[in-house]
């Protein structure tokens, strides 16, 4: 017998006591589809888009390390504020897609957005049987917007 092993094998039976004790306790399980797991507010679940705030500046698409954001837009002339004023052009968003099969959830796009258009939502239930369905378009990204929680209060110290 190797060193450190004593005959009545107390360790073996102590371990059995622990498993028996665990068996008699209630299992700490969240019964997932019946009972939803609630992620913390900061959880990086899915990126939501506020399309009205987007100015098609392309910063997020350029900073994305995975090249998974596709944006298209066009310029549109805007009615001048007062008659005879200068005609402004405004960027209109045509397409904003995020390919979640490529995204690695780093959050760089949310960080670099200068116009309050991208937010993290903790939602996680968007698994798809087909990989191509993981490309979320503008409408789908907009739907996530209402799930964006308020940031948590901060520690006082």
């Amino acid at each position: 017998m190797s060193k450190g092993i004593t005959f009545p094998f107390p360790g073996l039976f102590k371990g059995m006591g622990l498993t028996l004790k665990t068996m008699l306790k209630k299992a700490p399980v969240t019964m997932y589809p019946d009972e939803k797991e609630i992620p913390v507010p900061r959880a990086r679940g899915v990126i939501s888009l506020d399309a009205d705030a987007c100015t098609v500046c392309m910063l997020c698409a350029r900073e994305c390390p995975d090249w998974c954001i596709y944006i298209e837009g066009h310029k549109e002339a805007q009615e001048p504020a007062k008659p005879g004023g200068r005609i402004k052009t405004k960027n209109e968003l045509d397409r904003f897609d995020i390919d979640y099969s490529l995204c690695m959830y780093c959050g760089i796009c949310v960080e670099v957005c200068p116009f309050n258009a991208l937010f993290w939502s903790p939602e996680y239930e968007y698994a798809e049987p087909r990989i191509s369905d993981l490309l979320h378009n503008q409408e789908k990204l907009g739907e996530w917007l209402e799930t964006v929680p308020k940031p948590p209060a901060l520690e006082s110290r």
Binding site: A53, T55, V56, C57, M58, L59, A61, R62, C64, W67, C68, I69, Y70, I71, E72, G73, H74, K75, N91, V112, P114, F115, N116
Partner: protein, 196 residues
Amino acid sequence: MSDQPDTSGDTDVNPLEDYASEMSERLGAQEFSVEFDTVRVLVERDKWVETINAARKELPFFSWLSAIDWSRDTEVGEGVSDPEDLEERFEVMCRLSSVTSADGVIFVATLPKDDATIGSLTATIGGAEWHEREAHEMFGIMFEGNTNLVPLYLPDDFIGNPLLKSFPLIAREVKPWPGDVDVEALPEADDEGGAS
């Protein structure tokens, strides 16, 4: 990092400097440099194995071995800052460190591009085998005396040395950059920051 002596400023008071000079003198190395608390000692290619074995008496811990490809021909990323002055070469680096203090030295040997051959450390440092194999397949550097220079990471039929600067990164070439489609010029982020 907080309590490290600041080395980017005046280097005269840096104790690492003394350490490095003493070390390189003792080992008969060519020259040394200390930047950002990183001690580099330049070793002649022919004395590579001998110097490192001698240095292991006080720095026994074999940390890593790798190489840099100094090249003008840059297919990926950003090139060197002064391509004209650059002497194209490989630098083979091996870091040894102490196991009692923070001391550690990176030994550097320069290899010409057309004759990238250097002695192998595997006779005395068993751990060097994998590192040398990696450097061999990634840069094409030959380690004389290492009998097992078969590819470590790459498939057996792979052609090329991926970490050479001249080796293209296919993943970035088969797909157009999504940031390339432009609607208008980039807004100056700093100016627009408080606009909305």
